[in-house]
């Protein structure tokens, strides 16, 4: 493991790692059950050097912005390192965004170079304003529209390393969609080096460990846990080009995965799999499993005991490949019971709390002992305070200060001034701190909503899509914002609407269906009075939420699914029913990927 103290930049630290661990395997890429690529640290360096040389030739220098739009694969990390080597700023863009959304972010970031893969390039129809583009995996004979093949990238001479200082920007990470103004968080080398230091103090990776990268690498968690940390520790990063459960399982087992980061949705799927496997066993075995599980829980009350748990609960551990040491879970609120379930099975889930604005994480549960109902203690160097505390409940807004807090939003001084006050980051989340220093989150103050799949949603985005619906006013909320107290992991989106016509439900359902799955609303609630607004006519969300709170939540109507056939299928009601009547109205509907 390389200690970060003597390094001024990420590029410098990783450059040393590639030499120090030169014979170890850095990357393994699989396509289903086939290994499609593998790089030792030395091979990583040689491949990345060629791209760095091409970037130098394309004019990439200190502070040049270079965007990456790629799914999880080896070339993501190779590209990112090449950019850092040339002193550039990485602009990671979500490959799952629509081409229009990607274009909007490219327009805002104005990168000098775009690095992408053919599937995304095809989506963009080769039309961007970026001067130079490298595209990977271009089929034979496909039109490149002036772009260069990633695989052929090289320059006329070996690349020159460009040093950076800790206060220089390393990445520009976007934390919102297109409906609202894009918010590009400027994160510095200092932010990342300090975050790395804090994380490996608690959860160091070792040479030989294997991290399975399934969360998108543009996401803050995977960027840190699936790029910086493993490479700086001499571990191996494993990518799987498909996220089908059977291939995830196969990879966990055959690649001897030791670490992975997940979002709550995936944790839920894992729990379902364990329970399904158990249900197939005879009742006696199920009962015995329950007893052994309880025994393991009792023996690991104070701290995890991996070897013991693995012996006691071998079938469960084998289902996860038998080598898993830790699961990191973040990106959304984790159900405490679920986290405890995994912990009791000897599969500790490290729950963290963070924001893109603060690099990756601010607090983590250090497992000594495990508290599934909190997001843990602040990492060393991070200060957390509860401001504007309610004297009765002790709940207030979570403010954070420390070396991982961003420099600000790119080209947006107003929004920066709104969230950064005297070095403190106003997180917009509501919480309390217990006597042992654990942070417990109870809700959100700011408008952003995080789904169970870890996606950030801004209500304004959805409201702009619903702009011409037949009603006087509407506003989108997370259900937990209106009715706090429900588990944050079970939040859903609700539209509050005034003076809707009879056509409203049908048109809402149609428009809702056209939205990306994670932005779809689950229900709507009618509100008779004019919405409270500011002088500039912005909806006062907090005040409106308080007013809505007094309404019976049974009044929430589900958004009916859209069916093409004239007769509705059995079991579907023509008129939406209340949440409590069906119990399934608020079912999450994520799509092909988490």
């Amino acid at each position: 493991m390389i200690t970060p103290d003597r390094y001024a930049s990420l590029g410098e630290l990783l450059r040393d790692a590639l030499i120090q661990f030169k014979s170890d395997v850095a990357l393994i890429e699989l396509n289903r059950k086939r290994q499609s690529a593998s790089y030792t640290y030395l091979e990583f360096k040689r491949t990345a050097d060629r791209l760095a040389s091409a970037l130098e030739h394309a004019g990439v220098n200190a502070g040049s912005r270079v965007a990456i739009i790629m799914s999880n694969q080896s070339k993501w990390l190779l590209s990112a390192y090449s950019i850092l080597f040339r002193g550039g700023v990485i602009v990671p863009i979500d490959y799952k965004l629509s081409p229009e959304e990607q274009r909007a972010l490219l327009q805002h970031a104005t990168p000098n170079v775009l690095i992408t893969e053919h599937a995304s390039w095809r989506g963009l129809a080769g039309k961007t304003a970026v001067p130079t583009t490298f595209v990977s995996e271009v089929p034979e004979g496909a039109e490149l529209a002036g772009a260069h093949r990633w695989e052929d990238a090289n320059g006329p001479k070996p690349p020159t390393f460009v040093p950076r200082s800790r206060s220089d920007v390393a990445t520009l990470v976007y934390s919102s969609g297109t409906g609202g103004a894009p918010k590009g968080c400027m994160l510095t080398h200092q932010n990342y080096l300090e975050q790395y230091r804090m994380l490996v103090e608690l959860f160091p990776l070792e040479q030989g460990d294997r991290y399975f990268s399934i969360l998108p690498t543009n996401h803050a968690i995977d960027f840190m846990c699936g790029f910086i940390v493993p490479l700086a520790c001499g571990a191996t990063v494993v990518h799987q080009r498909t996220l089908r459960p059977e291939f995830i399982n196969h990879t966990l087992k055959n690649q001897r995965i030791t670490h992975m980061a997940v979002v709550p949705l995936i944790l839920e799927a894992f729990e379902r799999r364990i329970q399904e496997t158990l249900q197939e066993r005879p009742e006696l075995i199920q009962a015995a499993f329950g007893l052994v599980g309880a025994l393991n829980a009792a023996l690991t009350l104070d701290k995890p005991r991996r070897a013991l748990s693995r012996r006691l609960l071998k079938p469960v551990h084998d289902a996860f490949g038998g080598h898993l040491k830790l699961l990191f879970c973040g990106g959304a609120f984790v159900d405490a019971k679920r986290a405890q379930y995994f912990y009791d099975l000897g599969l500790p889930v490290v729950i963290g709390y963070g924001l893109t604005e603060a690099c990756t994480v601010l607090t983590v549960n250090d497992l000594n002992p495990f508290h599934g109902d909190t997001v843990g203690r602040p990492l060393r160097g991070v200060q957390i305070e509860i401001r504007n505390e309610d004297p009765e409940t002790r709940v207030g807004e979570v403010w954070a200060k420390g070396p991982t807090v961003m420099q600000g939003y790119f080209r947006d001084e107003d929004q920066t001034a709104e969230v950064l006050v005297d070095g403190w980051l106003k997180t917009g989340d509501l919480g309390t701190i217990d006597a042992a220093g654990h942070l417990r989150l109870v809700g959100r103050r700011k408008n952003m909503i995080v789904t169970a799949g870890g996606k950030n949603i801004y209500p304004e985005d959805i409201e702009s899509a619903f702009e011409d619906l037949p009603c006087e006013e509407l506003a989108v909320f997370a259900s937990g914002y209106i009715w706090p107290g429900e588990a944050l992991a079970e939040e859903h989106l609700v539209v509050a609407v005034r003076d809707a016509t009879s056509e409203f439900p049908r048109i809402l359902a149609t428009k809702n269906r056209r939205l990306p799955e994670h932005k779809r609303v689950a229900g709507y609630i009618a509100y008779d009075e004019a919405f409270p607004r500011t002088a500039s006519m912005k909806v006062k969300r907090n005040e409106l939420a308080i007013r809505l709170r007094s309404l019976d939540r049974n009044l929430v109507r589900s958004v009916a699914p859209v069916h093409s056939s004239a007769s509705l299928p059995t079991g579907t009601r023509e008129h939406p029913t209340s949440v409590l009547e069906t119990g399934t109205v608020f079912k999450k509907r994520p799509r092909w990927s988490s």
Partner: protein, 79 residues
């Protein structure tokens, strides 16, 4: 194999995996809404589909695919 044949086969695979009556499912149904499944279960269904048709469909081909008919089109392109 026509587009209709592919769709019919897809519907029968979905009905079998999620224990529903195939006759209640139609080509234009949103398979997530109609089957009430999440992404993980959808990918399980896709594995059945790949085995049945003996094709491989990369994950990126599925972005924006919501209906049985659209899925049939993606499969059809690979047969």
């Amino acid at each position: 194999m026509t587009q209709n044949d592919i769709t019919t086969k897809l519907i029968s695979l979905a009905a079998e995996r999620f224990q529903q009556e195939a006759s209640t499912l139609s080509a234009a149904d949103d398979l997530f809404d109609r089957l009430g499944i999440d992404s993980y279960q959808a990918l399980e269904l896709l594995s059945d589909v790949e085995n049945a048709f003996n094709v491989e469909v990369p994950d990126y081909e599925l972005q924006g695919v919501h209906t049985f008919a659209a899925l049939a089109e993606v499969i059809g392109r690979r047969l």
